[in-house]
Amino acid sequence: MIPGKNPPSNWSEFIEGLWQRNPIFVMVLGMCPTMAVTTSALNSISMGLATTFVLAASCWMVSLLRHFVPKEVRIATYIVIIATFVTVVDYAIQAISLSLYDALGAYIKLIVANCLVLGRAEAHAARNKPMAALYNATGMGLGFTLGLFMIGGVREILGAGKLFGLSLFGPHYQPWVVMVLPPGGFFVMAGWLMLFAVVRARKARGNTPATLAEGAQNA
C-alpha cells in the first residue's frame, strides 16, 4: 500500500477487473477456455459466468481462511478450494441445461486450471478482506466474461452469421467457417488486440506536445 493513499474502495476493486486490467486483453490470463469455448456468444457468456462464480466463491473462501493457512501449503489449499467450486458449478450446469453442458464440454472442469482463478487467489484474495476479495473477484470475472463475449460474438457473427442463435444476415449468408474453428479464435483475439493497439497509438499521438500546440493554434 502506498502511504497516504486510501485503501481501494469496494467499487474501485470491482471496476479494476472490468476494463483497466481486463483478464483477457490486458493480463492475457485464462486463455484455454477463451479460445475453445468462444464459438458462440451464448457459450462465451455462460462460460464467463461459470468462471465468475468460481472466481468469486473461491476468492471469498480463500480470503476467509487466509490467516489459518500456513504459507507452505497455501497453493495446495487454494487449488483444493477452487476445485471444489468448479465441481459445484459443473453439477449446477448439468442440472440447469444438459445441452449447454454438452456445448461447454470438458472446459467447465478445466476452469480449475484457469490461471486467472489461482492467480487472483494468490495475488489478491490472500492479502485482502473477504468483501474486498469478493468485489475484486466478481469484477475480474465479469471483465473475463466481457472479453469472452467480445471474441465469441465476433466469431459467431462472422462464422455463422448469427448472434445468440438469431440469424443476422439471412439464409444466403456464406459463413466464414474458419472463424468458428480453432484458428479463428486466435485470429479474432489478435484482431481485437491490434484494434486496441491502434486506438492507443492514436490517443498517444493526439497528446504529444506538437499536436497539442497545433490544436491550441487552431482553436
Binding site: 501449503v73 483444493v80 459445484v88 444438459l98 459463413p175 467457417v177
Partner: protein, 231 residues
C-alpha cells in the same frame, strides 16, 4: 570442533501439524460442499437426462408413447437397473398407446472431425432395418459437418438401412458401409454427404459398431420385449 551443543536455529517454518491441520480443515469443508452440491443436483440432473433421452427416442420412433430401458447381455435381456452389466449393451424399447412394441432405439458413437459424434438410431425388429437416426451430440464443423442434422438426402439413407442378421443370428449379414456421395447401390450402404466425408463416416461407424454388438444379442430374445405391459 566445539563441544558445545549448537543452539537449535530459530524455527520460522510452520510445524507439520499446522500444515496438515490446515489442509485437513480445508479438505473437510470442501468435501462437505461438494457432497451437498452433488446430492442437491442429483435429482435435477437425472430428470434432465431422462427428458433428453425421451425426446430423442420419440423423435426417432414417431408414434411411441412410452419408453423402457433395457440391457442386452450374452445371458439375455434385462431391464436396465442401477448396477450396469459388464458387457451389456443398453437400448430403449418404445411402445405405442396400446402397449405394443413400436421399435427399438440405441446409441452408436464414433470419432468424427472434432470429437465424438453420438447418434440414436431406430431399429425395426420385424423388418430388420434401421428406420431413422437422430444426432444426440456432436461438435462437428458448423456448415459442413453439421449437415448430418439437416441434409434431407443424408437422412433418406436411414429410412430403411438394411441390418438383417445371418440365419444363425450371430452377425449382421452385410456390414454398413459409407460410400462416396451418389454411389449408393445396396440397402446397407450410406451415401456420404459430399464435403463432409469424415463426419458421415463417423455416423456410419457408430451405427455399425453398435448394431454389430447389439443385434445378435437382441433379436433372438426380441419377444421378451413384448411381454407384459410397460409401467
Amino acid at each position: 570442533m566445539s563441544e558445545q551443543e549448537l543452539a537449535p536455529p530459530l524455527s520460522t517454518a510452520t510445524s507439520s501439524k499446522a500444515m496438515i491441520g490446515a489442509l485437513g480443515l480445508a479438505a473437510t469443508i470442501c468435501g462437505l460442499i461438494i457432497v451437498t452440491a452433488y446430492e442437491g443436483t442429483l435429482d435435477a440432473v437425472a430428470r434432465n437426462k431422462k427428458i433428453a433421452t425421451e425426446r430423442a427416442v420419440f423423435k426417432v420412433i414417431p408414434g411411441a408413447k412410452t419408453i423402457r430401458e433395457f440391457v442386452a447381455t450374452t445371458g439375455g435381456i434385462q431391464p436396465a437397473g442401477p448396477s450396469e452389466a459388464e458387457n451389456g449393451v443398453k437400448f430403449y424399447a418404445a411402445y405405442d398407446q396400446g402397449g405394443a412394441l413400436k421399435g427399438v432405439a440405441a446409441e452408436g458413437s464414433a470419432k468424427g472431425y472434432a470429437d465424438e459424434v453420438r447418434v440414436l438410431y431406430a431399429y425395426d425388429p420385424k423388418r430388420q432395418v434401421i428406420t431413422g437416426i437422430g444426432v444426440v451430440s456432436m461438435h462437428e464443423t458448423p456448415g459442413i459437418g453439421d449437415k448430418i442434422l439437416t441434409d434431407p438426402d443424408f437422412q433418406k439413407n436411414f429410412e430403411a438401412l438394411d441390418v438383417h442378421l445371418t440365419d444363425d443370428m450371430k452377425t449382421v449379414a452385410n456390414a454398413i458401409k459409407v460410400v462416396k456421395h451418389g454411389t449408393k447401390q445396396h440397402p446397407w450402404e450410406i451415401d456420404a454427404i459430399s464435403g463432409s466425408t469424415v463426419t458421415s463416416k463417423a455416423v456410419g461407424k457408430g451405427i455399425r459398431d453398435s448394431t454389430e454388438k447389439l443385434l445378435p444379442l437382441l433379436l433372438p430374445k426380441i419377444d421378451k420385449l413384448s411381454e407384459g405391459k410397460p409401467t
